[in-house]
């Protein structure tokens, strides 16, 4: 009840003309960014962080949240119409969205995607309000030992789940991120490490220029490198943009289940919207009465994917706010933005600023309303936006990549950092290295480093508290087990030992 009251107060607080204006333009820009292949949610949030630093705290965070929600939703447009996901989060959407568009049901597909995204975000918001306060309370018991494991847990799990076919590449990406975080003055003795003789590196590598490079410049290069996408010409297209209520009612369980799966995936550190969409899609297919339609234009599959990816947004903010561990790449940028605006995310947030979580939930609700409004009313406008030629859009994006990081610190060095991470990000992505563990490594490196050394100082060099304290021991066991299980030989041996799996495994091998 108290939570509802706080949420209502927060919502009322944002019902001012200026706040609503910010909600409208930022959500619209977010949908625009998300719908254009090559512009991702992470890039949008990173670039907008550089543009909103002069706004007051609540307005800036509101704008960033609206951009995040809008961009994740906007990705469905190009997934449905071009078969190119506007953001990686919409990859699962294209599996059924594009076949639906080819059948002349593009408007219906976009309407369902809108409804799914809005409902998914709402499920996530409910869970955010329910889970964030108790999680922050649990996290109050965390000491250096637990924070060390938490940081490691984030990188290991993110590396495993985003590595695609190669977990090893996920781990390597995480290690590279941690190594980047080792550059500059360390947090305990202020000793400068690995500055390579450059005084500009004494303060370390800032996250925003690195993210703008890895998600902005790298995307510009990717878009120009790839062949152009062809848009589906709608045939016999109806102008109706509202979803059929009967469809939504038919898929009520799919929507609730996908919303919960998406939120849980969001809570797992560094595992973002794409995994949320795929997990929800896989679960929906498994439990569907019509699994054979999946991949050929299933409206249920489309709804599951869109609900799943949008529910990740509130989910990813749960650990970001309560533990300062981002649940996704855009959430990592949001953490950096929170610090810029003087908010310290972490376990103390419920003590220092108890209303802040409800403010975030209210911002998410407003963003959801905005995407529903724009999504259902501006269908044709967004079809036109998708026709903006990449050769006109990309130089403008790159100009913003150059001036954005510079605007934050007024240092030309940050432009070089952006260029370096852009080129490195492009090469790594082409070789199937996931970006999420890298980002997580950069943001969690300091926490891992300080927690390990502080913990060892507290225990006078004794490692045992890292394994004997209950929460630490649990983290250590999970990390150890997940690393072991990611080794193919160990997994094969375990599968052989499980009696039920033995036969299936034998069949697989034959």
């Amino acid at each position: 009840m108290q939570a509802l009251q706080s949420l209502a107060d927060a919502l009322l607080g944002f019902l001012t003309p200026m706040s609503l204006f910010h909600v409208l333009w930022a959500s619209l820009l977010g949908i625009f960014v998300g719908s254009l292949p090559g512009l991702t949610a992470t890039m949008g949030v990173a670039l907008l962080t550089t543009l909103t630093y002069t706004l007051d705290r609540d307005a800036a965070i509101l704008v960033l949240i609206c951009m995040y929600v809008g961009a994740i939703y906007g990705g469905s447009r190009s997934a449905i119409l071009l078969n190119i996901p506007g953001t990686p989060a919409s990859a699962a959407t294209s599996l059924d969205g594009f076949p639906l568009a080819q059948k002349g049901q593009a408007a219906n597909a976009m309407a369902l995607a809108t409804a799914g995204s809005a409902l998914g975000t709402l499920v996530g918001i409910v869970l955010l309000v329910m889970l964030a306060p108790p999680l922050a309370e649990i996290a109050l018991d965390f000491g250096s030992f637990e924070f060390f494991w938490l940081a490691l847990f984030g990188i290991v799990i993110s590396g495993q789940l985003t590595g695609g076919g190669s977990v090893l590449k996920g781990y390597i990406a995480g290690l590279l991120g941690l190594m980047v975080a080792m550059i500059g003055s360390e947090g305990i003795h202020a000793h400068v490490r690995f500055n390579l003789g450059m005084s500009d590196l004494n303060g370390g590598i800032a996250l925003i220029p690195a993210m703008v490079g890895a998600f902005g410049f790298a995307e510009v290069l990717t878009v120009m490198w790839r062949p152009k996408g062809e848009m589906v010409e709608a045939k016999g297209e109806s102008t109706r943009a509202l979803p059929r209520m009967i469809d939504l009612w038919r898929y009520k369980f799919t929507i609730i289940r996908s919303g919960i799966i998406g939120t849980i995936v969001g809570i797992i550190p560094g595992v973002g919207e794409d995994i949320g969409a795929w997990s929800s899609y896989a679960a929906a297919k498994k439990l569907s009465r019509e699994p054979e339609l999946y991949g050929k234009g299933s409206t249920e599959g489309l709804t599951a994917a869109e609900t799943g990816n949008s529910a990740v947004v509130p989910g990813a903010l749960i650990p970001a706010l309560t533990l300062a561990v981002p649940g996704s790449a855009p959430a990592a940028v949001l953490i950096a933005a929170l610090f810029i605006h003087g908010i310290r995310p972490g376990p103390m947030i419920m003590i220092e600023q108890p209303d802040f979580i409800y403010n975030i939930a209210a911002m998410l609700i407003l963003a959801t309303l905005a995407i529903a409004l724009f999504g259902l009313s501006l269908t044709r406008v967004f079809i036109k936006i998708l026709k903006v030629p990449r050769e006109l859009l990309m130089p403008i994006v790159f100009t913003l990549c150059v001036i954005g990081p510079y605007a934050l610190t007024q240092r030309v060095f940050d432009i070089w950092v952006m260029l370096f991470f852009g080129l490195a990000g492009f090469v790594l992505r082409r070789m199937n290295y996931p970006m999420a563990p890298l980002v997580l490594g950069i943001i969690l490196g300091t926490l891992l480093d300080k927690s390990l050394r502080r913990g060892l100082t507290l225990s006078n060099g004794d490692l045992s508290p890292f394994f004997t304290r209950p929460i630490s021991a649990t983290f250590a066991l999970i990390i150890g087990a997940s690393i072991l299980l990611s080794i193919p030989a160990v997994r094969r041996t375990l599968l052989r030992l499980l009696p039920g799996r033995r036969q299936a495994h034998a069949q697989e091998e034959s």
Partner: protein, 160 residues
């Protein structure tokens, strides 16, 4: 561009191996701040040493696993290397060569004009060349001006 993933993985593995060794050695030889009498368990090189060791293990595993890969089974995405290199050249030329050497609006205008013109020129079915040049020049002038004004007067940034 990355035609053979096995070779790419092997080369990356070697680069990462060197990086891991450098990190391990860098951490080991890093100042232990004895003069400040810090706790030996809190030396600044501790975590870099651990990361270096972990990277050495991962890079060796990567090199090892690249041997067993079946290149036939790996799908590589295809793109235009020419477009990529032109994009890199234009972007770096702008960020390193133009920005800071002339007024920001002019540098941005030149960059947008060249980028948009090159790729529109090479695109199939483009309008007549003279119209294209005029349209691109106008487009570059409007957007470079708008971005410069926004940052200079909207966000009060001293442009590079």
């Amino acid at each position: 561009m990355f035609a053979d993933p096995r070779t790419a993985d092997r080369i990356t593995g070697l680069v990462l191996l060197m990086l891991g060794i450098a990190m391990l050695v860098g951490g080991y030889t890093m100042d232990r701040l004895e003069i400040r009498q810090i706790h030996p368990a809190s030396i600044p090189g501790l975590v870099p040493m651990g990361l270096g060791a972990a990277m050495i293990i991962c890079s060796l595993l990567l090199i090892h696993s690249s041997r067993g890969q079946n290149t036939q089974a790996i799908k590589t995405e295809q793109g235009s290397a020419r477009n990529l290199f032109v994009s890199i050249a234009l972007c770096i030329g702008y960020a390193v060569g133009l920005v800071g050497k002339m007024p920001f609006a002019l540098a941005t205008g030149i960059f947008i004009f060249l980028f948009a013109l090159y790729f529109s020129w090479t695109a199939e079915g483009s309008r007549s060349r003279s119209k294209l040049v005029i349209f691109t020049a106008l487009f570059a002038a409007v957007f470079s001006g708008a971005i410069s004004l926004l940052f200079q007067y909207g966000f009060l940034v001293r442009l590079p």
